[in-house]
Amino acid sequence: MGVIKEFAEALKGLKSLIVGLGITGKEFAKPGVTVHYPRKVVADKDLVTYRGHIELVGSKNDPAMPPCITCLMCQSVCPSGCIKIIKHPPPKKDPAADKNAPPEAYASGLEPKTKAAPPAKEKPVKTPKGFILDYNYCSLCGLCVQSCPVDSLRFSTEFYIADPSKKAFVYDLMARLKAQAGTATAKEKE
């Protein structure tokens, strides 16, 4: 009996190997599923949801300028501290203009007795001067995009990036947006 059992077990094992080989053979005849990268690239439709590094969104009126109001929310929420926003410096006071304006009278809140026009309020420039992203430390968590109050940030679908130097991953996003707007208008003209 022992011998028969041994043989039966061996046959069963052999059968399992043949079944496995059959599956391997079937799979061998199927077309490949991998993308052969340098010769083929991933289709654009598969990249729609891909999170590349962040980029600025052009505003409606001026595609070369972002709707960013430099609230610095993204800069402060970033866990890795890889966003650096450069603000426009506050407008320099013109000493000649200061002489003409009667500042004290207006500051008190009372209507002054002079006929001189009130000083024009200077709107502070809210758009950023520079928007630097250090992609080396970014972990693509999306907190900056989510916390932006004016939806000025989004993820790009850029992923064909490789460089031996770290400096290549410090992006000037304002310049990038301007370049994007430039190519967009050039396409429209065509």
């Binding site: 094992g13 079944v19 496995g20 391997t24 598969d46 929310m73 866990p79 999306g142 916390s147 993820f155």
Partner: protein, 383 residues
């Protein structure tokens, strides 16, 4: 005698056994079967292991300390990097702990989204384990089949989460993006497809006589040992104990779904293997039910915290079932900008600690099989 002592701290403290015929070997830190940087010091007598000791800490990244020096919201990316294979479970544990602490309500749709994505992530984790375990045992091709299916899951999870591995998708009070109709359609097509692939997996590998000889009756980790070391997940279910956090203390909407906890009483490597293969089916069952009943509504609560939010005073603990076992986050707050304490309980750490006892007296090749059957993720052990 050299001025410098021989070996490092661990080998010096391991060696003084005095036996001459034995050999002390370092398995790792760079060893293909350790999936990362785990080092095991093994004392061999011929082919047999006399004793062994795991050495940890090669990828220690201070996740607990990092929690103390960044704000509550800024800790999110860390949660996805503890266990990179089942990142969403860790996302969930942190979200759950902070929501419990601050009393943040989660919309029903967000709960369903969490269940769907977390279970999908569990399936992909088990598929990768399946491929990698067989790779350890010397079978190369199965991982190609596993990655073929896993690729589809990652493509799908990329749609709402935006990433493919280290997800940072959940937020306090919901998730960061809604599931699109396209995602749900693709998912409902995928479930029958993966189900039809499971018999193929069985024929290809599970029934294979070579695998059976490698995993059956190897690495006994019984209920008693699990209890002593605190093993959870497929290890304890492979020892015949039906313990699953999803059933034992149902969180979120898990109590609404009908699913089974697979258990096998054999307590060997094959039992753990079968538990995971059955869990894939159970996860698919949960996803199917969740898709059928997912309600409409917001995916993020309106009272969800703003970026500069900090939690009220207090402490909270939240446990979820990960692919490897019970994941627990403990958070304590003193009302300040940053958490006062973040404690992570990782299942792999406990599961690994029983390895030294389970591998005593086995052949070295079987030790590799035991190590693989524990489904270790080294970054999770070291945290």
């Amino acid at each position: 005698m050299s001025v410098f002592p021989k070996g490092d701290f661990y080998t010096r403290h391991f060696q003084p056994s005095g036996k001459e015929e034995t050999l002390v070997v370092n398995m790792g830190p760079q060893h293909p079967s350790t999936h990362g940087v785990l080092r095991i010091i093994v004392e061999l007598d011929g082919e047999y292991i006399l004793r062994c000791e795991p050495v940890l800490g090669y990828v220690h990244r201070m996740h607990e300390k990092m929690g103390e020096n960044r704000s509550w919201v800024q800790y999110w990316p860390n949660t996805g990097r503890v266990d990179y294979l089942h990142a969403l479970a860790w996302n969930w544990a942190y979200a759950g702990a902070v929501e419990k602490l601050a009393g943040i309500e989660v919309p029903e749709r967000a709960e369903y989204i969490r269940v769907i994505t977390c279970e999908l992530n569990r399936v992909s984790s088990h598929l990768l384990w399946w491929g990698a375990y067989l790779l350890d045992l010397g079978a190369f091709t199965p991982i190609m089949y596993a990655f073929d299916d896993r690729e589809e899951i990652m493509d799908m999870l990329q749609m709402p989460t935006g990433s493919r591995l280290t997800y940072c998708y959940y937020r306090f009070g919901g998730v960061s993006a809604d599931l699109s109709d396209e995602f749900l359609k693709r998912l409902s097509r995928f479930i029958p497809y993966l189900r039809s692939r499971l018999p193929m997996y069985r024929d290809l590998v599970t029934e294979n006589v070579i695998l059976r000889k490698r995993v059956e009756d190897v690495g006994h980790i019984d209920e008693d040992m699990c209890r002593r070391y605190g093993c959870t997940g497929p290890v304890v279910r492979g020892a015949g104990v039906a313990y699953d956090v999803r059933k034992a203390e149902p969180y979120s909407v898990y109590d609404r779904f009908d699913f089974r906890i697979p258990t096998y009483p054999e307590a060997d490597a094959f039992a753990r293997y079968m538990v995971r293969m059955d869990e894939i089916e159970e996860s698919l069952k949960i996803i199917e039910q969740a898709i059928a009943t997912i309600p409409d509504g917001p995916y993020l609560s309106k009272s969800a915290p703003k970026p500069k939010w900090s939690a009220p005073k207090g402490e909270a603990c939240f446990a979820v079932e990960g692919a490897r076992g019970k994941i627990t986050y403990y958070v304590a707050s003193d009302g300040g900008r940053t958490p006062y304490r973040v404690k992570l309980r990782s299942p792999s750490y406990c599961n690994l600690s029983c390895f030294a006892e389970a591998a005593k007296g086995v052949i070295l090749a079987d030790a590799v099989s035991i190590l693989g059957s524990l489904d270790l993720v080294i970054p999770e052990i070291d945290r």
